[in-house]
């Protein structure tokens, strides 16, 4: 890959990297025919973000890394890479100094060296070269359909940030309650916190304050503010409108922004499952029932629902991912209620598949109190005896006595 950017584009790219740096720890760089895509996933896999820079954004763009040594067209490849956010952030760290001195920027992924080469041509003829080492290429992708969401509304990013100013800076999660003519935001209070000791904030946004408002499903959705703040920092600096698409509680929320023809970005954030569904209990029952439930799962994967499937492209067994999930399910660690309730975006690694809860029949229980919870989680440790499974198979080698 080889591309050339001018001064304004470099600043936009730097801001995008700052935004992605607040979300995840590793940056995936994928050149395509249509431009460059930068992606990241956060550590808990509950936020996925992708920036797509289209061809007009660049002064010059070529997604193929040419084999310069031997001009062999079969050898030309498209290199995708992943590097730690820290290293690329150190290059684009100060937007002020980029603004002052950088005139053009060239980014190259040569075929023969495992380096990402960034070159800044600055004022006074000074040239800065950055040779960054990257990791082997593996790509991460989330599949989602923009049109599959029930509710959609959009407004300027400045409006969102002004709204969020009403919330205390320590607020971590906000509940968005959608109604036909308004959106009501309130800070989400954890069950463990004493309700009488915390400040509740509620903001109502009427329909006409939005540029575009289309709510089909009245629902309540709760997700983390940290990623949203990072998104708004980017969007506000570039004065863009932000679209928000929501399905229902437990389903991921999609934020997107776009600068016509130049670039667009999508952010998929996981939401908390509603209070009634105790995912700790449901995981256990899912273990038991999933093994019998292979056909419905494959039906779900054929739906055009907005439920995303994060998969590693390197592993092409995506069709059978549902099957994979069933066999891996028993290994799901039973995490405490208050952390597993943030509904992770499903990955090929064992994670809860949100759509499952609709199909399964399970007890609805309120989250048990702390002690009971601990006892429940560590129940195997507290059991007096272990279940000894009878293994009846031929003994090929008898136990040896003592060390030899």
């Amino acid at each position: 890959m080889k591309c050339l950017l001018d001064a304004t584009s470099v600043k936009v790219l730097a801001r995008a990297i700052h935004c992605l740096a607040k979300i995840g720890d590793e940056l995936h760089i994928e050149p395509t025919e249509n431009g460059l895509t930068l992606k990241t996933v956060n550590a808990s896999k509950s936020a996925y973000s992708a920036f797509n820079f289209h061809l007009p954004f660049f002064l010059d763009f070529c997604h193929i890394s040419e084999n310069t040594v031997q001009a062999d067209p079969d050898e030309d490849t498209v290199i995708k890479c992943k590097l730690p956010m820290k290293s690329i952030l150190s290059v684009f760290r100060s937007i002020g100094s980029l603004d002052k001195s950088v005139e053009t920027c060239t980014i190259t992924l040569p075929l023969l060296e495992a380096l990402l080469i960034i070159e800044f041509k600055c004022k006074h003829g000074i040239v800065k070269h950055f040779n960054l080492r990257y990791f082997e290429c593996e790509s991460v992708e989330a599949e989602f359909c923009k049109n599959g969401y029930a509710s959609k509304f959009s407004c300027s990013s400045r409006f969102y940030s002004e709204t969020l100013l009403s919330f205390h800076s320590s607020t971590q999660e906000v509940t968005w309650s959608l109604a036909m003519d308004q959106v009501h935001l309130s800070n989400h209070i954890d069950d463990e916190v004493d309700p009488s000791k915390c400040v509740r904030t509620e903001v109502t946004l009427a329909k006409d304050e939005f540029v575009d408002f289309n709510v089909a499903l009245c629902t309540q959705v709760t997700f983390c503010l940290k990623e949203l703040r990072a998104i708004l920092a980017f969007a506000e600096a570039l004065k863009l409108d932000l679209d928000c698409r929501m399905e229902g509680a437990g389903q991921p929320v999609l934020f997107s922004l776009e600068k016509t023809d130049l670039y667009s970005a999508d952010f998929l954030l996981a939401t908390l499952t509603p209070n009634l569904d105790s995912t700790a209990t449901s995981s256990r029952t899912i273990n038991n029932q999933k093994k019998n439930d292979v056909p419905p799962q494959s039906d779900v994967s054929k739906h055009s629902s907005p439920v995303p499937i994060l998969r590693n492209k390197a592993d092409s067994r995506t069709v059978s991912c549902a099957n994979l999930q069933t066999t891996l399910m028993p290994n799901v660690p039973e995490s405490p209620c208050h952390t597993s309730r943030l509904n992770s975006l499903s990955l090929i690694e064992p994670q809860l598949f949100p759509a499952m809860e609709d199909n399964l029949d399970f007890e609805m229980q309120p989250p048990p109190p702390k002690r009971a919870r601990a006892r429940y989680i560590f129940q195997n440790c507290l059991k007096a005896t272990q279940e000894v499974r009878e293994v009846s198979c031929e003994v090929f080698a008898p136990d040896s006595e003592g060390d030899e």
């Binding site: 290293s87 150190s90 100094s97 006074h124 000074i126 040239v127 800065k128 070269h129």
Partner: protein, 347 residues
């Protein structure tokens, strides 16, 4: 230290035991009979030395005395070996602040000017040169006067009236005295009628390295804009242990390289660029310097207008910073740093 404002009323307070002694001393000087408790401000004169006083109740004093000393009546110490007077003490504090990366400094005063040296680990050295023309009065009675004192304390005293920038605010006037080996350095600062007297103890100085940077050994020399180099230095990758300077007669650039955790970063400054005033290089030069040792050069880079870099054949680099003070005077700061030698590669 005793502070008073000679435009307002001045009170002398002594404790009863010393009272008689003080009265005897003061009787030898100018004594004016006046109403107890006050003395007209117009009678206050200029002071070159302040009396040491202690406390007493004012009512016991019938005559109120105002000691008046003129600069000629310097009472005790007549034998200053060094005396400096300047109208704007901010100049000297501006320069000395840039070299204050370590506390101990050695002052070397000759008829050619004042040289202050700060050294670290017998390797890195910063020298500030202030020529006599910048001072209003510069008297050196011996061939060479050397003493060592705590530079941080000196700067705090010089900035006792507030440490605003070189251009802003009022500037205090300075008088500095030194009486020779073993005596403290006396500093008198005056601003808007308020006078401060400080005495800073001197220490027997440790010999400093004398870098004999002969011009015959210099293989690379650059004169460039200080601001540009400062920007480059401030943005150097801090995860790198060392920084490498490279230039050669064949290449068109002066290259600064760092080797950090994320990768290798180069900054190329073309010889033809307008930030480089001149670049002379007789043979290829490429030496590495520890980044931590280079850090003291950033402050002088910030205040200087131009900087000259010279590298000799052993890799010793000498930065010379030119700082403009007042209208047509320049002060210089030198910075020496040895190259980082990889002992495994030594034969």
């Amino acid at each position: 230290m005793f502070l008073f404002n000679n435009k307002q009323q001045f009170l002398v307070r002594i404790n009863p035991t010393n009272r008689q002694r003080l009265i005897n001393v003061l009787h030898k000087l100018l004594i004016t009979k006046t109403r107890a408790g006050s003395f007209p401000a117009s009678e206050c004169g200029e002071f070159s030395q302040l009396p040491k006083t202690s406390h007493v109740k004012l009512q016991q004093f019938e005559t109120f005395v105002m000691p008046r000393f003129s600069s000629q009546n310097v009472p005790v110490e007549q034998n200053h070996v060094l005396m400096i007077r300047m109208d704007n003490a901010k100049i000297i504090s501006h320069i000395l602040k840039a070299i204050n990366f370590k506390e101990n400094s050695v002052f070397c005063c000759t008829k050619d000017g004042l040289k202050v040296t700060v050294e670290d680990m017998k390797s890195v050295q910063l020298n500030a040169f202030i020529e006599p023309g910048i001072f209003q009065s510069y008297v050196v009675k011996e061939e060479e006067i050397k003493f060592q004192l705590n530079l941080t304390v000196l700067l705090e005293c010089l900035n006792v009236f507030g440490s605003s920038g070189l251009q802003s605010g009022t500037s205090p006037a300075l008088k500095l005295y030194y009486n020779g080996h073993g005596t403290p350095v006396s500093i008198l600062l005056e601003e808007s009628g308020v006078i401060t007297d400080c005495k800073i103890r001197t220490v027997h100085f440790d010999p400093v390295l004398d870098y004999d940077f002969g011009t015959s050994n210099v293989i690379g020399r650059i004169i460039m804009s200080s601001e540009c180099l400062k920007e480059v230095f401030c943005e150097l990758d801090s995860t790198s242990d060392c920084v490498q300077f490279s230039m050669s007669p064949d290449s068109a650039n002066f290259r600064i390289t760092t080797f950090g955790h994320s990768g290798t970063y180069h900054v190329d400054i073309p010889k033809a660029s307008d930030v480089i005033e001149s670049l002379r290089c007789t043979s290829p030069v490429s030496f590495k310097y520890k980044l931590s040792l280079m850090k003291p050069s950033i402050r002088p880079l910030g205040i200087a207008q131009k900087v000259s870099l010279r590298i000799d054949d052993t890799g010793l680099i000498c930065f010379q910073f030119m700082i403009k003070v007042e209208d047509n005077h320049n002060c210089y700061i030198d910075f020496y740093c040895p190259a980082d030698v990889d002992f495994e590669e030594d034969e």
